[in-house]
Symmetry: C2
Subunit: 339 residues, 2 copies
DNA sequence: TTTAAAAGTGGAATCGTTTACAATAAGAAA
DNA sequence: TTTCTTATTGTAAACGATTCCACTTTTAAA
């Protein structure tokens, strides 16, 4: 069997409790015994058992990460690896490890999450997305389990700690950017309408239009499930309008890619025939032809800050709920033309 | 505090051991008591504590997932979400959960892995990549800890269970595909040379060339770190040769995207000026302009099978090492022209 | 010196399960 | 009846840590 704290204690001629204190580097143990115990640990190749530790401790030093349904196309978005990088960086800095929940159906994921919290597998949870009426967020809230969400909670945003961009503002900015460059017919292509980020960006777009006194047309608002077919239909609709848009605000780089592919197919060129600005600025935005003008939302920071908040919440359950706003910035490339 | 097995026992008027047996659905407990105990669990809202369970059990019902360095650009490849989907599907089917290791430096990841195995946090590990001389694989092998690799281990492939495509064959196939279509000058653009998959694909390419009696030229072999700059240099080199290639075998869809972006920039069109075939067939391949002809390597299956093997290994540590080969298939789109 | 406080360790209970080993009751066979 | 199975449940010891509460020694103060 594995070597335990008792074996170490025996070899070092101390009590198990002493060994435990050495592990925790408790100042009440003399340097001399510490040295002796450490040598014993070294000699035996001792490693603490985390399960035992968690049990005694009532803390796991691990964080749960809840991704969207893996059946969902969103799952493939490079947003997630990048946000994960932010999460794991901060987690690692604080010696926390990550536990992942996945599932293909919403209910499956909810079960997994329930398992995490009831089974005491994690000390806190990061929700990587925010949907309207999300059962998982509801559950976490009811249980009063420490969690943070990336994106803005639809209901009661004040009651749950979250980190988000100012998506309303960002969308307004890019729409104005387009308007300033002479575009008067700009359309909006959004993703799943049940994602809060979609509705935020949509309202930013609308606001910009209104402020510029441009007519707002329902036909210019289109939603794409991010599936190829859906995207293509949407593009066709838009292009076959009597007054087709001269510019597109697209809620996601990947969607923009799909749209450009279709545009290319029907012989329209970006940015000469139509301009595009999208969001997220994932690596791919740079690889597109032409490279995409995109809003950098600092995905890494979203993840990093989410964990920062979560750790605070774990530390002090009573700490008040926060909202962290990660700044965005427009990265101009070649998909926008000045009219 | 949380409700424990003892509380349930008290309410149901049985011993804790009985409750435990009811949880395990042990046939030696009468249906009557089972019912009674279950009611008690229901009433109290009981949920087993996984840490305690793992401790007593010496098994965690969780699998470790080792990703490549998050600092690495590869990390962003849609390959990973998809392989994760396969992994989590199979894991879920068997009521296993996932534990994730990440880190930005190789050593950091190794530490994390050591933590997983020594700390008894997981019952087995899936390695999502195979590199030449990988310290993590070495460690796992020395420890004789159950693990499987996605991709082919460079050293001692017979001694470690792995699931892979026949990458040699796949590369040979696509190269021949190009040759059959009249291409005589076909170049190879590979990724990091320390990934085994790269060298396998490279040798398949070479073999096809040799068998077709085409001259093999060093200048036609190029490796790209997948970073934009590197990719661009490579493209420039290739295109400025006296006899530039008419077709490219590119080891990864994403790389192909980057290359096409550069090609577009310097005014070369795919497939009219140059044909491209790439690997993996991630969703993006379809979104490219033009849509990419790509080898579908069935990423989902890679993940699914890796877990299947791993579970066998966990079940029976003595089981012999396996190699599972997941079939590939060429998906033709519009990036190849017949000369 | 005597006494009080501080420093350093050890003992034993505890965290919430599982499981080997009894123990009891009920039914079948003799 | 008595005895032997068999079915069902209970007891108590792990699993491998942490931590509260003593208990010695020292050291400092009186």
């Amino acid at each position: 069997m594995a070597v335990t704290i008792k074996d170490v204690a025996k070899l070092a001629n101390v009590a198990p409790s002493t060994v435990s204190r050495v592990i925790a580097n408790n100042p009440r143990i003399s340097e001399k015994t510490k040295r002796r115990v450490r040598e014993a640990m070294e000699e035996l190749g001792y490693h603490p058992n985390y399960n035992a530790r968690s049990l005694a401790n009532r803390s796991t030093q691990t964080l749960g990460v809840v991704m969207p349904s893996s059946a969902d196309k969103v799952f493939q978005n490079p947003f997630f690896p990048e946000v994960l990088r932010g999460i794991s960086t901060k987690a690692h800095e604080n010696e926390f490890t990550l536990y992942m929940s996945t599932g293909s159906k919403e209910e499956e994921i909810l079960d997994a999450v329930k398992g995490m919290v009831h089974g005491r597998r994690v000390d806190g949870i990061v929700l990587l997305y925010s949907r309207i009426d999300d059962s998982i967020m509801k559950f976490l809230k009811e249980e009063q389990f420490p969690f943070t969400v990336i994106g803005k909670p639809f209901k009661y945003p004040d009651e749950v700690t979250h980190v988000d961009n100012d998506n309303f503002r960002a969308a307004k900015d890019v729409t104005e950017h387009l308007i300033e460059r002479g575009h008067e017919r700009v359309a909006f292509v959004g993703g799943q309408l049940d994602l809060v980020v979609t509705v935020d960006r949509l309202s930013g777009y609308e606001k910009a239009l209104r402020e510029a006194n441009l007519t707002y047309r329902d036909e210019y608002i289109v939603h794409v499930e991010f599936l190829k077919e859906g995207g293509h239909e949407a593009v066709m609709e838009l292009c076959s309008l009597e007054e087709p848009p001269t510019a597109l605000v697209v809620a996601d780089d990947l969607m923009a890619l799909g749209i450009m592919s279709k545009l290319d197919e029907i012989g329209l060129s970006v940015p000469d025939d139509i301009s595009i600005i999208s969001f997220n600025n994932v690596m791919l935005a740079e690889y597109a032809s032409p490279p995409l003008t995109s809003v950098d939302i600092n995905i890494f920071q979203l993840g990093y800050q989410a964990v920062t908040c979560l750790l605070e919440k774990i530390e002090d359950a009573e700490s008040s709920n926060k909202r962290v706003c990660v700044p965005h910035k427009l990265v101009e490339r070649w998909s926008v033309k000045t009219l």
